[in-house]
């Protein structure tokens, strides 16, 4: 059973930021929800409450960047780019301010429904010049996201996991690299964020079905090492399946498709994720099943690509992790 880490961001951010006077912690009324309440209480000189006023917060952060500070903005991802998109562009991205945008509740990790689920943020951020995009998929990546983000000479968009987070990896994020989780020769699986745990759940069943899976996990989505991806694609016989906690347009699936098209790769690609749809409110496991983002969906995608049915059922998949929606490790049920 995988190790579960409680509130990895809370301790990681405090360890990283405390005592660094140029790092400021910005919050927009979601302080405990973004696990920075302890930091607020213990390091008030580095904490700045900007209220439910994200447009001002983003331009304000741009001004702090101009003054040489490196603000870490904390709120739910959706609130950081949908309403204040103009401010994100003009005050942060264009002038390359060193603002670290810590976006919580990526994709369907929240039962909060459409208004709380950032399902198209990667697509948006990929199209913003000067933007770097990082995504966390486990506790170790959450623990290393602050240092990784702060190493960037410019703005950084981070998809951050909170609450109880599984530990899948034992090495920190190295910006620009990708994790190779298995080195098979039939199919390449590309996953990111919470999708990676799902893909790992499917691995033994796929192996038992006789498939050799090459699996890579992306924590750095922009900039992207296209050549390394192409090397992995050329190492597999049949094709590529992408799995992401995001719409398939503009996210990791698109990134892989663009890479393949640019290089003239003639292999098949199956893109799994939210298929041109909003999600609704529900538990993560329910949403991942309903919208086809889980281990079983990956199996279905691979069957589609191979044109075969391997007869894999839920019982064949590694035990699912069950999270209680109402948990002491989360500030609220969102």
């Amino acid at each position: 059973m995988v190790e579960m880490v409680s509130r990895p961001y809370a301790s990681a951010f405090e360890k990283f930021a405390a005592g660094k006077p140029d790092i400021l912690c910005l919050s927009a009324d979601l302080t405990s929800s973004c696990e920075i309440d302890g930091f607020r209480d213990r390091h008030p000189d580095q904490f700045l409450s900007l209220g439910m006023a994200e447009q001002n917060m983003l331009s304000f952060a741009g001004g702090l960047g101009l003054a040489g500070f490196r603000p870490f903005i904390h709120t739910f991802g959706v609130f950081m780019y949908r309403r204040p998109y103009d401010q994100l562009m003009a005050s942060i991205a264009y002038p390359r301010r060193k603002v670290r945008l810590m976006g919580f509740l990526p994709g369907v990790t929240t039962p909060g429904g459409m208004t709380h689920q950032s399902i198209e943020d990667i697509s948006v951020m990929r199209s913003i010049p000067n933007m770097t995009i990082l995504e966390t998929g486990d506790a170790t990546e959450v623990e290393s996201i602050c240092e990784a983000a702060d190493s960037i000479d410019g703005p950084v968009w981070c998809r951050v996991l909170r609450g109880s987070v599984p530990r899948l990896f034992d090495t920190p994020i190295k910006v620009g690299e990708m994790r190779v989780l298995s080195e098979g020769s039939d199919i390449l699986v590309v996953s990111s964020g919470i999708s990676t745990e799902e893909a790992m759940r499917a691995r033994s069943a796929l192996t038992n079905a006789g498939l050799s899976i090459r699996h890579i996990h992306l924590h750095t989505i922009k900039p992207f090492d296209h050549k390394q991806l192409l090397d992995h694609i050329s190492s597999v016989k049949h094709g590529v399946v992408t799995l992401e906690n995001h719409v398939t347009e503009g996210g990791v699936g698109s990134l892989v498709a663009e890479t393949m098209a640019d290089a003239g790769v003639g292999k098949r690609l199956v893109r799994l994720g939210l298929k041109d749809t909003y999600a609704h409110g529900g538990s993560r496991a329910y949403l991942m099943r309903y919208y086809g983002l889980d281990a079983l969906a990956l199996v279905g995608g691979i069957e589609d690509l191979m044109g075969q049915n391997f007869g894999i059922t839920e019982d064949d998949l590694a035990e699912a992790r069950v999270d209680d929606v109402h948990s002491l490790v989360k500030a609220e049920a969102l």
Binding site: P21, L48, S49, L50, G51, A53, Q55, N56, M57, L58, S59, F60, A61, G62, G63, L64, G65, L66, A67, G68, F69, D86, Q87, A90, S91, Y94, P95, R96, P129, N130, D153, G154
Partner: protein, 308 residues
């Protein structure tokens, strides 16, 4: 380099340059020179503590946007001098006032007159909507309403660093229709950002016409005070009133000076164009000639010989 001329004389010089440019180019942001000339003249000639310019008097061509692959990139802030702790900073929040701001730089000896000839020319940094790489600009404010927030962030950061210099924002009254302006004021008050000052050109005009016909904004002085600013309302063509207004106590609060102005100040013929004053483009050669003669007389100069 300050106070070699009176601020009133600088304001007249600004209007003359914007007038000449508008007639010669058959259009321009002329009304903004009417309303804002004294404010920008006062800031640059008297109030702002600025160092000597660090960029060439004749602006360099466009040098590319901020990018990791553009290491030589810089903003146009060097026309206001270095960003040293003791100096003030200025943002021009309504970036379409750029023509008036450039004319001000020339009048106070911070840019060569040739700079204005590059206005809105392809490949020039002297852009029509002032970009952050345009002379005198430090941030990109073409989207109205973001200037005060950015100024508040910079001012807060400078306060944390113990810098004595203030952050000034030149604003336009249309910006009070944007919610972000009010978010900025409440945040500045909440965090005691009193090294932030703004002067707002309250000319009651916006792109569609008179503000009251587009969206009524009510008693904005009262609103600014309720949101937490110190706010004084003055005659925006009275330089003496500006000198008094800046002495308004505002400990723990930003100071906002509402400069009530006329969009036709010194150029009464402009009233013919009401309510479309945002950008004056002449509808006929006859109109252009009449405006040329009339405004030249108002400003005490010869009509512009624009045929050559």
């Amino acid at each position: 380099m300050q106070n070699e001329r009176t601020t009133e004389d600088v304001a007249l010089g600004i209007r003359r340059r914007v007038f000449e440019h508008t007639i010669r180019n058959n259009g321009g942001y002329l009304s903004q020179a009417c309303s804002a000339a004294e404010q920008l003249a006062w800031l640059y000639n008297e109030e702002l503590k600025l160092g000597a310019p660090t960029l060439p008097m004749i602006p360099k061509p466009f040098g590319g946007v901020p990018s990791p692959s553009n290491p030589d990139y810089h903003t146009g802030a060097g026309y206001n001098g270095p960003a040293a702790p003791e100096f003030d900073r200025l943002f021009i929040a309504p970036a379409h006032y750029a023509l008036v701001a450039y004319a001000t730089l020339i009048e106070v000896g911070r840019m060569a007159p040739e700079g204005l000839e590059m206005f809105n020319k392809d490949g020039s940094s002297v852009e029509m909507i002032g970009a952050e790489h345009s002379p005198g600009m430090e941030v990109h404010n073409g989207t109205l309403g973001i200037g005060l927030s950015t100024g508040a962030g910079l001012a807060y950061g400078r306060k944390l660093r113990g810098e004595p210099g203030r952050t000034w924002v030149f604003m336009s009254d249309g910006e009070v229709q944007e919610g972000q302006t009010w978010e900025a004021v409440q945040a500045a008050r909440f965090h005691g950002i009193d090294n932030l000052c703004a002067i707002m050109d309250v000319n009651d005009q916006q792109c569609d016409g008179a503000m009251d016909s587009v969206m009524e904004v009510g008693d904005i002085r009262r609103k600014f005070i309720e949101f937490g600013a110190a706010c004084v309302e003055i005659d925006g063509h009275d330089v003496g009133a500006m000198r008094d207004a800046v002495n308004e106590p505002h400990e723990g609060k930003p100071l906002i000076i509402l400069a009530r102005t006329s969009p036709y100040q010194t150029m009464p013929i402009l009233e013919e164009r009401f309510p479309r004053l945002h950008y004056v483009r002449f509808k006929s050669e006859d109109e252009r000639a009449r405006f040329n003669t009339s405004i030249a007389a108002d400003l005490g100069v010869d009509p512009v010989d624009y045929a050559h």
